[in-house]
């Protein structure tokens, strides 16, 4: 396993579209690094540049000690798992997994051993003689993982590998990918547009937008303090409540007199947008807080999400399942917990300390 460095990567396609503006990433040895962003943000292009499937317009990519610019994909010693698995349809599961080893011209005994080892780890032993078309989506994905791991590559590149699975299977495979990555102590670069997947898997998350890095950090860092309004909207479900507020005496005050704890680093009278997680609001039938009206209620079993209309806008509020409020009921909304991050309305960047 190895580190991966991306330095000043810039990628423009011949038709003029710029996929990556300028990107610097340092991916540590044995790290599960997630690149997260909406479609067209440049995350897949970055991955394909690392793989060597696209040539960078400028910049440098280093895998281990080797600068790989100009090297063919086959010379970079990396493995990739594709969104559509890309299993060779004319080969059996065994031959699919043996394929990279055959390319490396390994002896037959070693090939058998490595394939058997991967098949055991991924519970693919009963399927070795089948062709990919006879497998379910999850099984196909496991074969793709097996094919990636038999060669013990320097790094794994995962291009939205779970997007094509149904929701239940996706959660299982997510756990399996994480487990596998830890067991192999593999350097893994994982591209996804699903923030839940990113939060669940990543040691670190890079949020990308329009070819630029918006934020880089550990999942909880990114969750608690999104660096920009874009990141704030992208991470978390339901998303952060973004509320226009003004710094008053020790508080952030929004329309209707809603008060929130003020974060450090703001000056009095400054106009900001406060980002409040749904769990940092609480509602009660009577008591402190501003008046709001419940617009909708989503009982999720373990918790209930209320959408409350206040003078400052529509808020999502996460409450325990025991909270019973009816739609149209008038309630009091109050901010609890830590001070929310605050954003500048024009630059859209975080301004609180």
């Amino acid at each position: 396993m190895a580190e991966v460095h991306v330095r000043k990567l810039h990628k423009a396609f011949p038709d003029g579209t710029v996929a990556v503006e300028e990107l610097d990433l340092e991916i540590k040895d044995g790290e599960l690094f997630v690149m997260l962003g909406p479609s067209g943000c440049g995350k897949t292009t970055t991955l394909r540049c690392i793989a060597g499937l696209e040539e960078e317009t400028s910049g440098q990519i280093q895998i281990g000690d080797e600068v790989v610019s100009g090297l063919r994909p086959s010379e970079r010693d990396i493995a990739m798992v594709f969104q559509f698995y890309a299993l060779y349809p004319h080969l059996t599961v065994r031959e699919n997994m043996a394929f990279p080893l055959r390319a490396a011209k390994r002896p037959e005994a070693e090939i058998n051993e490595r394939v058997a080892e991967a098949a055991r780890m991924l519970q693919l032993e009963p399927y070795l003689t089948r062709t990919p078309s006879k497998l379910s989506g999850g099984e196909q994905q496991r074969v793709a993982l097996g094919r990636a791991m038999v060669r013990h590559p320097k790094a794994f590149l995962m291009d939205e590998p779970l997007t094509n699975l149904d929701a239940e299977l996706r959660a299982d495979m997510r756990a399996e990918v994480k487990h596998l990555q830890q067991r192999l102590n593999a350097t893994m670069i994982y591209v996804t547009h699903d923030q839940t997947e990113a939060m669940a898997l990543g040691d670190r998350i890079a949020i990308m937008n329009k070819g630029n890095l918006e934020q880089l950090g550990a999942p909880m860092e990114v969750y608690n303090r999104p660096a920009s309004l874009f990141a704030a909207r992208f991470i978390g479900s339901p998303p952060m409540n973004l509320i226009e507020a003004e710094v008053t005496n020790g508080h952030l005050t929004a329309a209707g007199g809603l008060q929130m704890t003020a974060p450090e680093g703001l000056s009095r009278g400054q106009k900001v947008i406060a980002g409040v997680r749904p769990e940092n609001f609480t509602i009660s039938a009577t008591g402190d807080g501003v008046q709001g009206r419940i617009v909708s209620r989503e009982a999720l079993g373990d918790e209930t999400i209320f959408v409350v209309e206040c003078q400052a806008g529509l808020f999502h509020v996460r409450m325990p399942a025991t909270a019973r409020f009816d739609e149209e009921q008038v309630v009091a909304v109050r901010h609890v917990g830590v001070a929310p991050p605050a954003y500048d309305p024009t630059t859209e960047k975080v301004v609180s300390a």
């Binding site: 011949p14 063919r72 990739m80 559509f84 890309a86 060779y88």
Partner: protein, 301 residues
């Protein structure tokens, strides 16, 4: 590739095949009765010349000229076929030449066309659409238009009356077709397969050879048969560019039998049947792929 044909008159009653009741028996019967009669008539008209040819091929010469025509009341003979393959056959050399010309021109068109189609399918190229249109546009004109210029060129290069000349012309005519048809097949094979193989340690060409190629075999077979049929049947260039009886191909050799003082119609019919059989056999062998080849690309995955 199932096509759901919605019976007429049921258009507004939900989705065909799911909620619509089966079509009314009586109407269906009447409809298909007319259909069958029409199709049978059509078939008779289309097949009559072929049947007449078959019959002529096994009639003795005196029966061929009999008036009124003997339809079934004649003694069958294989003499004409023996003449086709006999020692003094005027067409046997033509068949040999046709095999060589059709075989090589198909081979050349396939060897050049498949890699070209792969490149057009996989790579970003300058003015790719224009290039492809240009390639296709060479098929817009009727071949006979270029006969005179080709004749002059061939005369200067000494290619008249040579098999090589015909092979070149047929290859050139088959190439655009091969490129377009193969591009359709290759577009259907996801590029990810090759990318995966490249990451698995193969060069781009090896990836194409080991992963895409095996998946393309049916498509190549279908395309090659089309090219083969074209080269095998081609008549105009053959008759214009070749006059030497030693190098002319079967179609012009057979045509050469007609005319003069007497025409041995039995030999003409027997030669024509011998000529048609290989194509029929080939088309039959790859009929599934032929249909797939024609319809592929019409439906997106």
């Amino acid at each position: 590739m199932a096509t759901h044909i919605q019976p007429e008159g049921l258009a507004d009653e939900g989705i065909a095949g799911e909620t619509a009741p089966p079509p009314v028996r009586k109407e269906r019967k009447l409809g298909s009765g007319i259909e069958i009669v029409l199709l049978a008539l059509f078939m008779i008209v289309m097949l009559f010349p072929v049947l007449w040819m078959l019959e002529t091929a096994i009639k003795e010469t005196k029966d061929i000229y009999a008036v009124p025509a003997k339809v079934l009341s004649f003694e069958p003979t294989l003499q004409h076929f023996k003449n086709v393959f006999g020692e003094n056959s005027p067409v046997l050399q033509g068949f040999k030449n046709s095999v060589i010309v059709a075989g090589f021109s198909t081979l050349i068109a396939t060897l050049l066309g498949v890699p070209a189609a792969w490149a057009y399918s996989r790579f970003k190229l300058v003015a790719k659409k224009d290039q492809l249109f240009f390639i296709l546009s060479t098929r817009f004109m009727p071949p006979v238009v270029v006969v005179i210029p080709l004749f002059l060129m061939f005369r200067d290069f000494g290619l008249l009356d040579t098999l090589l000349g015909l092979i070149l012309v047929y290859s050139a005519f088959n190439l655009p077709f091969t490129i377009w048809m193969m591009k359709g097949f290759i577009d259907e094979v996801p590029a990810e397969y090759e990318e995966a193989a490249m990451l698995d340690g193969y060069s781009r060409f090896e990836a194409f050879w080991r992963v895409t190629m095996p998946l393309l075999i049916p498509g190549i077979a279908a395309t090659a048969v089309f090219a083969l049929i074209f080269s095998w049947n081609e008549f105009v260039f053959s008759i214009f560019l070749i006059t030497d009886p030693d190098t002319r191909t079967a179609p012009s050799a057979i045509a050469g039998l007609i005319g003069g003082t007497t025409t041995d119609w039995g030999l003409v019919a027997a030669s024509a049947i011998t000529f048609a059989v290989p194509v029929l056999v080939f088309a039959f062998l790859v009929r599934k792929h032929l249909v797939a080849g024609v319809t592929l690309g019409a439906v997106r995955r």
